[in-house]
Symmetry: C2
Subunit: 93 residues, 2 copies
DNA sequence: AACCTATTTAGATTTTCATCTAAATAGGTT
DNA sequence: AACCTATTTAGATGAAAATCTAAATAGGTT
């Protein structure tokens, strides 16, 4: 797992919106593409970046590929960020 | 505050390392630059992106500018991410 | 005032990223 | 087998980002 990849994946508005769509349950690439005014190839590109960062996984069923959020990677990002909040540190700042 | 900006700011390894350095307390731009094999102008550029995303703030003292992590923005990122973990949702998935 | 040190700005270059169209692949369905 | 629909790959283009050098600004210090 690489924070490099996960933060970069999160840094694009289309990819964040894809994650929003996936919050409502698993959805196919076509259905996702239908929500945007972008070529399917472009959505495929964004999905591959999300996949490559492990933020989503894919599951084939019949002629479709369903995508799903990988919550554990999101949790790792949250844990990474928590080091900067000073929450569990004992600094005397 | 914009997740666009904060995630993009977090997505660069140099900027994440700058935040790491700032965990140990406020530090000047020069001291930060000393940790990298990059031109000072480049570090200044990264600092301005971090500043623009509100992930850090600056405080002038004498001839120096000290930088400091803005923990509240980090917390907002964590909160944003939490929507994807299904933690406090009641989905029957 | 002159100087020094810290930091930023300007402008150029290189690299990376987002996007498109067109073509390829891949799997069901008839 | 032929066809259809879903998705990806290839290759091109334009836009955005990272980096550098050199110059400018800006504040202390002497």
């Amino acid at each position: 797992m690489s924070f490099q990849k996960s933060f970069k994946a999160m840094s694009h508005p289309v990819r964040r919106q894809i994650l929003d769509i996936l919050k409502n349950g698993d959805v196919t690439a076509s259905d996702i593409a239908a929500e945007f005014d972008l070529a399917h190839a472009t959505i495929s590109h964004h999905l591959s970046i999300l996949k490559n960062s492990d933020l989503i996984s894919e599951h084939k069923y019949k002629n479709y590929i369903y995508y799903r959020i990988n919550t554990s990677v999101v949790e790792e990002m949250m844990f990474y960020l928590s080091q900067f909040t000073g929450g569990s540190n004992n600094e005397e700042n």
